[in-house]
């Protein structure tokens, strides 16, 4: 995917691999702005893969009593990235023991992107202020009740940082795909099969200004008597790190 290739490359270029999550689809981009809520299923049965972050349609601000102050979102200076990637792939096969074969698939491609982006983030001071001044809505909104009913199998996260496009951008990829196969089956009396196909591909993707390309989350704890952002959730440091709420 041209979009995913671009967002992954952007995260690497920003030096934030493993910290920022590349957005894998333009359709979920609008639900990953700062304060948006994201859920994540707990791993079942020691499955060796991680569970993905799933965007919701809600923001943390939907959970809080309306009122002042409106939280401030910080913006970095613009960053301009121009990238041209050329590459290809091929595979070759050879077999032994009387069975010989050769299969090759190759594709050559070039991908061009020019992006102007900025990072949006919420400072620790803003979290402190929000925790102090904005309480959870009462009664609890229905979607929060639903999310809490899944507490045993899901965790809730809030987007704290996001990389946003500053201008409309066009991503382009042009490629040539050549696939050729030649197979000799000596055991079957030297039967040969040859296949060759050739395909030109060109893809153009338009990304609107304000699209989120990568984001970072922190775990959110919502209890009966308050809410908190967990700065170090893996450490289980509890009281010292869960701010604004007495657990």
């Amino acid at each position: 995917s041209l979009f995913l290739r671009t967002t992954k490359s952007l995260v690497g270029e920003l030096g934030r691999k493993g910290e920022l999550v590349p957005v894998d689809s333009l359709s979920s981009s609008s639900r990953l702005r700062p304060f948006c809520l994201v859920r994540k299923k707990h791993r079942r049965h020691l499955w060796p893969w991680d569970t993905p972050l799933i965007p919701t349609d809600f923001s943390l601000l939907d959970l809080l009593e309306p009122g002042c102050p409106e939280p401030e979102v910080n913006r970095s200076s613009p960053i301009n990235i121009w990238e041209k990637v050329a590459g290809g792939l091929s595979g070759a096969v050879s077999l032994s023991a009387g069975l010989q074969g050769q299969v090759a698939g190759s594709s050559n491609s070039a991908c061009i992107s020019a992006l102007a982006v900025q990072t949006l983030w919420i400072s620790p001071g803003t979290w402190e202020m929000l925790l102090e001044k904005r309480k959870l809505r009462s009664p609890r909104p229905p979607f929060l009740q639903e999310l809490q009913s899944r507490k045993e199998r899901e965790s809730l996260y809030v987007v704290t940082e996001a990389v946003e496009t500053l201008q409309d951008a066009i991503l382009q990829s042009q490629g040539q795909m050549l696939a050729a196969g030649q197979l000799s089956l000596l055991q079957l009396g030297h039967v040969q099969v040859q296949v060759q196909s050739h395909m030109d591909t060109e893809k153009v993707l338009s990304i609107p200004r304000g699209s989120i390309l990568a984001y970072r989350v922190l775990q959110l704890a919502v209890e009966e008597d308050g809410w908190a952002v967990l700065y170090f959730p893996e450490g289980k440091l509890c009281r010292g790190t869960r701010r604004g709420i007495d657990f």
């Binding site: 995917s1 894998d24 499955w47 091929s90 595979g91 096969v93 698939g105 190759s106 060759q196």
Partner: protein, 206 residues
């Protein structure tokens, strides 16, 4: 250290076999119907997510919500004649859905194409081979791509298969056909292995 790759793969296989065994008892018609519904869902990540949520909730609470479309079809196959959800079959589908959820949208689209082109078993074999040979490597290494199962494929299928492997973050060098192993891709490859195991079981006519 070669053993550790084999052990990882063996553990993946045992886990997949254990989770999926109840699907093998379904008739081949029902398995193909499930496969067709999942193929449709691979084009719609949100519907796939909705099915996973619904199934998970049903297994945890016993309350089965209704779904429209291919998700509804999957749920109907998992119900017995009295309308109760079969927990073991539900768990098996949940295993497949969990593995699919760990993949990106482009990977899901490649899997949908792979179902259409009937190359799931070759893909499963290749992914298993890569895991077995490389899982023990803790650093980036370059090795030849294991290509045993590729000979029987059409050339465009080879390209599709190689794209799927590359989509996990592995680089294939040209023209040598060398695969650059990156140990950070193990979870992605494992999820791909789990997905392929489930889909291949449904596609298997035997």
């Amino acid at each position: 250290s070669q053993d550790s790759g084999e052990i990882h793969l063996q553990s993946l296989q045992e886990q997949a076999d254990g989770q999926l065994q109840d699907l093998a008892t379904l008739s081949s018609e029902l398995r193909l119907t499930l496969l067709g519904a999942l193929r449709e869902l691979l084009q719609d990540r949100q519907a796939l997510q909705e099915l996973e949520d619904t199934l998970e909730q049903a297994l945890d609470t016993g309350l089965l919500a209704q779904l429209e479309g291919p998700g509804g079809l999957v749920l109907s196959i998992l119900q017995d004649s009295t309308g109760n959800l079969s927990c073991s079959r539900g768990g098996a589908i949940l295993y497949i859905l969990g593995a699919l959820a760990a993949l990106s949208e482009p990977q899901l689209r490649l899997l949908a194409q792979s179902i259409e082109r009937r190359i799931l078993s070759q893909e499963l074999e290749l992914v298993a081979s890569i895991l077995e040979r490389n899982c023990n490597q803790m650093e980036e290494t370059t090795r030849p791509l294991p290509t045993g199962g590729l000979c029987a494929l059409k050339s465009e299928d080879v390209v599709l298969l190689l794209n799927l492997v590359q989509s996990c973050g592995l680089a294939l060098e040209q023209p040598s056909g060398q695969l650059t192993w990156d140990p950070t891709v193990v979870p992605q490859l494992s999820a791909l292995y789990g997905s392929l195991s489930g889909l291949q079981l449904l596609a298997d006519p035997s």
